[in-house]
Structures are given as structure tokens and as C-alpha cells.
Symmetry: C2
Subunit: 280 residues, 2 copies
């Protein structure tokens, strides 16, 4: 049975995403994203990791992008997880004053929290906030987390679907320390639009550098689905670019594009090619 | 005297940035970024706002990008503020176990916090964390904030320069609800490289769309200094792009580029042109 690491307590959205991709996995909750990567890459206590890269409202998860730069693992898949937040409290709770959750979940329910005049308090994790208010028997506090978290900790759901915008999804990546087998990839080519490839590159700070690189994809009709920049951390205001595009590294046009960008970049890393997930 | 709003308590890095740009300002600390924008845009209680857009280690401040999309104010300047974190405690504090600060400051001192085996606890604000451990007389806790915060609250500095990487700077933007006067902009043109312009645009999700737009700047030799994407929030996985480039909206080549991208975008907003700040 595959052992899969995710960040957060049981009931976290990361756990739901992991179960979507690996319905029968043995799940390993980890405190931090660094711990998640370590579990598969260093200690060998997990076979796969499932980590959030982007939320449709709040944008990219910066820390994951930094970990992707360092990892030797390959991206082998993606999962979209619908985010539907609940206001969760102890049974018998009354006059809720404070609401605990991950800062991003608090931000996603900003309108609701303001309307109800609750004081938002940041916590490390959505499901972890539920666990905390339960263990500390806090009766004037609630947490924002998934229905699954409320059920796992046997708590009361005061309100459901409290996020400000309903089209709230998080995209997760699945990574493996093993080399990609290529199994199931035989159809790449004709069915290139069923696949995505994720890469990282950096460019020298010259006019037109990024333009020249994006052009190598554009002239081959390769659709970029995401472009993200992150500081290199070495030199202020120099960036690594994270690009996702349609197609598979086994496709001829992708191979040509990757060959063409090499002399225009100071660094290129191919994170992996994987089947596009259904967006549901 | 100019009234300038910033986010955080007295002693925040935002206050230091505001004082760098307006040495004699009357400073107005605000709890949230939304409150900062409201102070100048709605209540009229501030003439200018100074807000962080990007840190050289942690990357962009997502919430500010979302507020820039909505604001009617213009960007009139930028400031670089060096970030040098201190470990700050009550006088007589001992056996520090917990350390409170803004999640980004905790992330920037991750190595130090782990080495010292401190438990990181997220707070809303760096200087606010100092104020909190003082008011609650917490003797087994410390805060991470600026030297200025330690001095303002008359606290003890246990350690200084505890950030993992020394090239730690935050770039702040200065905004004003008044239309830009153009004063001091007469030199634009020949001295275009002394100026920067910030714009936001969105593109339809078609191959080559972003490429075509960046190309209009590249063919005119206009250097892009920053490109950032943020979800539109309306439709999942559609993005607004935030681009900074060298040059002034009064420059002929900039005017041509902006005219040329119009038919290729579904939305364009010019945030403003302003003098480049010294990077110190």
C-alpha cells in the first residue's frame, strides 16, 4: 500500500487531495511542508508526497515553489481539490468571538468573518485549528476547516460554505522520489493535450530574455498554463521562473522547445510530465 | 505635514520605509492592508500610503497585488527597506521557548529558530508581537522585529541580524489618491532608465497571448524588471499579470508599447510612473 505524506493534521484539505489520487493510501500527516518532502526524499518513510501549489483565489503557495527548486523528486501527477470551508465549534459552544485557522483560509472567508464580527486568529493548519479548540475546550472560539475535519474530531458544524467565493479550488502536485517510469505515457504525442510538463528556469536580467524563451514555446504552438516568478534568494530582484505547459517531454515539439531555451537560460530543471487532472 | 498610513504597529518595517520616503511625515499605523488603503482612498485620513509589494527572499505580498487591482490611487514612488531582524524579549526574560512574529519574518529566520529550538508562533505583525509579549509580560517568549521596535517599546535585544540570508530587502510602493502631477518628470525620455512604470493586464488563455504582449516591450528595448501573475478570482486558473518596466508613460516608446498591447489584452490598468529608488 502506497505511503503518502501531506501537510497538516488529519482532515486537512491535503489529506482529501491525497485520497483523491490514492484512494487506498496509508496517509502520513506532517507538520511542515519541509517534513513532507523529507519523508519521501530523506527518511524514506513515504513513497509519495501530495502538496498544494496554487489556490484559485489566493494564488501560489510560495514555500512549495522554493521546495520544488531543491527537490530531486519528480512531479508525477496533479489533483484539483474543491475547498469548501465550515465554521466548526465544540458542541455546546456559544457566543463565538474568535476564529482560528490557517491564514489563507481566514483570508478566503474574510467577508464572512467581518460580517459576523469574529476576531481572526492565524493557526498553522485548518484541521489543526479544529483539534486545538477541541483539546483546549474553547467554547467562545471556532475554527475554519473542512467538513471532514469536523467529522473526524466529532465537532459541531455551525455553518457551511462560508468562503467568500465559491469557485475555490486548490491544485496539488504529486511527487515521487523514483524516476518516472513512463508507464501510461505511450499515448503522448497525438494526445499531448492530455499531459502537462512543469519546468523551472532562470534568465539573466536583460531586455527580452524572458520574451525569447516564451517565444520558443509560442512558435511551436505549446500552450503555457501557468507562469510564476520567485526570487532566487541569492541576488535580490533576480528570479526563477516556474512554467507549466501542455505536452509531454517525450513529444518532439516539447523536446525541440527545451533544446532551444537551453542557451537562453542560466539554469533549467525539468520537474516532470504528468497526466492533466480533471477539474471538478 | 503629509499624513502617511502603513500597516502594523509603531516600529514596523513599513514605518521605517515610510520615514525613508517622507522623513517628516505624520505616521498613521493601521491594523490591516485594507485599512491602509481605506485611510487614503475612502476616509481621507491619510494623504499617502506606503505598502510592501515584494521581499527579496520571500517574494511578492499577494494581498497587496489584489488591493492594487481595485485601487483608484496612483503609484508615485518606491522605497527599498533593508530587513534586519532582532530577537527581542522583556528585560529579565529567561529560557525563551516561544518566538512570535509575522509568518514571513518567522520564515526568514527559519534556520536560526530551528537551531535555537524555539517554537515559532505566527502573529499579525513584527512590531505587534513585541508589543504583545511586553503587555502580557511573557518571560519565556521572544519576538522577531526591528531594532526600532525594540527601542520604541523599551525591550531587550537578545540577538541581532538573525535572518538566514543577509541580502534581505523589502520593496515598498508609495501611493497617492491624487492624480500624478508630473512634477519632476520633465526629464523622462532621455533619462527613461531613471523611471519605472507599473501596469496590470489580463489575457485570454490562448497559446502565445502573453508572448505577444511581452514582445511589444521587447522589440522596443523596454526592460521588464518584474512579472507577477495572480488569479483573477472570477474564473479559476485565469490570471492578471502585474508588470514593472523601465521607462515613463510620457516616453514615446512606452506609449507605443501600451497602445500595441491594448488589442491583445482583455484589461489594462496603468498604476503609475515613478522615479526608481536607490537600492541600499
Amino acid at each position: 500500500m502506497a505511503r503518502v505524506a501531506f501537510q497538516g493534521e488529519r482532515g486537512a484539505y491535503g489529506e482529501m487531495a491525497a485520497l483523491q489520487y490514492f484512494p487506498k493510501a496509508r496517509l502520513a500527516p506532517k507538520k511542515s511542508f519541509q517534513d513532507v518532502f523529507d519523508a519521501a526524499e530523506n527518511s524514506g518513510s513515504a513513497d509519495y508526497v501530495v502538496v498544494p501549489v496554487e489556490n484559485s483565489i489566493e494564488g501560489s503557495v510560495n514555500e512549495i515553489y522554493d521546495l520544488l527548486l531543491q527537490t530531486k523528486m519528480s512531479v508525477i501527477g496533479e489533483v484539483y481539490q474543491r475547498v469548501r470551508h465550515c465554521l466548526i465549534a465544540n458542541k455546546g459552544a456559544k457566543k463565538i468571538k474568535h476564529v482560528y485557522s490557517h491564514p489563507q483560509a481566514l483570508a478566503q472567508c474574510r467577508g464572512y468573518v467581518q460580517k459576523k464580527k469574529l476576531e481572526p486568529v492565524p493557526a498553522y493548519d485548518t484541521a489543526g485549528a479544529v483539534k486545538m479548540i477541541k483539546e483546549n475546550k474553547m467554547i467562545d472560539s471556532a475554527a475554519i476547516a473542512s467538513r471532514r475535519a469536523a467529522e473526524l474530531y466529532d465537532m459541531q458544524i455551525l455553518d457551511e460554505g462560508i468562503e467568500d467565493r465559491k469557485n475555490n479550488y486548490t491544485r496539488f502536485l504529486v511527487l515521487s522520489p523514483k524516476k518516472v517510469s513512463g508507464k501510461g505515457d505511450a499515448k503522448a504525442g497525438k494526445y499531448y493535450h492530455h499531459y502537462k510538463t512543469s519546468i523551472i528556469f532562470s534568465v539573466k536580467h536583460v531586455p527580452g530574455a524572458l520574451f525569447g524563451i516564451i517565444g520558443e514555446f509560442a512558435v511551436r504552438g505549446i500552450n503555457l498554463t501557468k507562469i510564476e516568478s520567485r526570487p532566487t534568494k541569492e541576488t535580490p530582484w533576480e528570479y526563477n521562473f516556474y512554467v507549466d505547459f501542455e505536452g509531454h517531454v517525450q513529444d518532439k515539439s516539447v523536446q525541440e522547445a527545451l533544446r532551444s531555451i537551453k542557451p537562453k537560460t542560466s539554469y533549467v530543471k525539468i520537474l516532470g510530465s504528468y497526466r492533466k487532472a480533471d477539474f471538478r
